[in-house]
Amino acid sequence: MAKFSKKPQDLIADIDYSKTPQTEWMDTPVEFKEHTFCWGAKGKNLEVVGFPNARDWSPTEEDWKLPQDWENIVMEGIKDRLSKYRSFKLFMDICVRCGACADKCHFYIGSGDPKNMPVLRAELFRSIYRRYFTAPGRVFGRLAGARELTLQVLKEWWYYFYQCTECRRCSVFCPYGIDTAEITMMVRELTNLLGLNTDWISGPVANCYMKGNHLGLEPHTIKSSVEFFLDDIETITGIRIEPTFNRKGAEVLFVTPSGDLFADPGTYTAMGYLMLFHEIGLDYTWSTYASEGGNFGFFTSNEMAKRLNAKIYAEAKRLGVKWILGGECGHMWRVLNQYMDTWNGPADFLEVPKSPITGTVFENAKTTKMIHITEFTADLIRNNKIKLDPSRNDNLIVTYHDSCNTARGMGLLEEPRYIIRHVCNHFYEMPEDTIREKTFCCGSGTGLNAGENMELRMRGGLPRAMAVKHVKEKHGVNMLANVCAIDRATLSALMDYYNKGVRVTGVHEMVGNALVMKGEKPRETNLRAEPLPGKEEA
């Protein structure tokens, strides 16, 4: 029989609830805890795109199966990037550790782990930079904030730089404008040189490279998925839409994240696109090759992102379209707006986007030749080119989550709000410090939207969830709108955990509901097949 050797009060006294490590941060090794990290990349997915050190590996194993000379590879990698990117070198040198960024990161706010403070996260890397690339660091070592590169340091990098969603909120508050996202990108590139990517990122990258989209959908699957939407739209509106695929000579190429084709509630947003384009008679085509707007390559290396992005201009050229229209997505737009032109441009075979319906020329996309669908739709509404019945969305009390990439990366702040105000009657903003340029991340961007790290995602998404909770309690908000495929998927999980009863929608799902189509039958249900307000069971 078990014998209790201690009294209850002794047991309680033995438990140390303090989470402050006994050692300095430099000497505190990282501990991999379940539900906070993603699984390691599979060798086959690294191999297919020619990434180095392709093999199966697991972050929890002691042996990460690294190349023999991994330290040299990292050093050469740092050297190469410091000479290539002046911003990287600058960001290494100019931080004065003022701490303005410290409490701005959603992961720090939600987890309380100091290594998630952007300044300390960057310091995890900067300490190595100092040791090997600066004179004071070489001479004074630890006194100058420098430390040796060890396997522990590498593991720490991996753990914490895959806990940054590159949302760039911290950079909004940095007096020097240091973009921590770029530091994360560099460190992730370095880990990638050793084959240390995650399964959730490398799988979609391999799929995208082989099939054109993250899910690895082949042309017939894409088509059959869209046909499902068409059936549903016909049931709801009585109108049979017939979109085209890979059609040469169309005026516009439409590219959207593949998540919209399969994952709820993104699927309803895709239905909204189809209905809108049909209603205005847009001469456009889908592509089963450029079938992904998102770019998980962006979370591995600059070169990989460029390779995956190349298909968009290539397909536009092959089909002979005039310009490109892009669906609702977040990081897709950071890539398209800030990188595509210099990576794979100039797209001089395309024209500056001009709406065939309103005649508006989108000068803001003069070089990329690609515009965001909310810019396009807001322009339609402003010119009274579509008829909307916002009362069909009267059951929705809506708030809007700015996706980090569209808000901070391309300044897309007003267009989605303008549309929302026209397609529904109940719209309430979240508090000022949590929206627009200061928006809080969903906590699952940059390939962190896997399932195995759900606990981490709930930490990162906490600040956003608390802002939604506030408007839920104050205004009865029950729908969280956004323009990002990852948001649509991951905010649903976040709401299910923190704010039950708040659902998630893309802006164009609400457009599809409100859109009064020529020749439509009286609508009974919304795109989710739920009765419209006033049409509930008598």
Binding site: T20, G110, G112, L261, A263, D264
Partner: protein
């Protein structure tokens, strides 16, 4: 009741101590952040913790019912349940109030009242356990639900194929059975 009015009278200092001690369950830099930043949205963890503990004190000195306790505890534990805490670390803050009350009120509370107070803390601790379990169950349910949503259309296609194949297999089966009967 005397204890209730004592708790009401000392509410501010009790709350401050309870909050400060609970905040010490985080690394020291974070403890300072939780204590000093008063923003509802810039420091949602600290804000929720303070509101939650205040709610518990209000319950202890007034309307003590399970439903209120559950909601208040949920606002604290839902956050701690996904942070870097073991189950016991997530809920141990409940017990801290025992020694804080002992320090603050000293001999003013004793006998039956003290017993009653301790019973109430035990009740809170039990509900805290339920709430913690509910949060963890929610977390895993969310994960399963996400997988379903992620693959909704694929499942739809697969189900349709399954139904088609199912029907075909069924009619083949009926046909076989018919032939078999005839043969007999």
């Amino acid at each position: 009741m005397a204890l209730q009015s004592l708790l009401k009278g000392k509410k501010d200092s009790l709350l401050k101590k309870w909050f400060d001690q609970t905040a010490q369950s985080y690394p020291s830099q974070t403890t300072e952040f939780l204590k000093n930043n008063k923003g509802q949205f810039s420091n949602p963890v600290g804000y929720s913790l303070k509101k939650g503990l205040e709610g518990l004190l209000d319950a202890l000195s007034g309307d003590f019912n399970d439903e209120t306790l559950k909601n208040v505890l949920d606002s604290i534990i839902r956050i701690r349940a996904v942070q870097d805490f073991t189950p016991s670390e997530s809920v141990y803050f409940v017990f801290l109030i025992k020694s804080i009350v002992a320090q603050e009120l000293g001999t003013q509370v004793e006998g039956k009242e003290l017993l009653e107070f301790n019973n109430k803390i035990d009740r809170i601790a039990l509900i805290a356990f339920d709430v913690y379990m509910q949060c963890r169950e929610d977390l895993f349910e969310v994960r399963v639900k996400e997988v379903e949503k992620r693959n909704f259309r694929l499942l739809q296609v697969a189900n349709q194929l399954f139904e088609l194949r199912g029907d075909a297999a069924l009619s083949q089966c009926q046909e076989d059975s018919h032939t078999e009967k005839e043969t007999r």
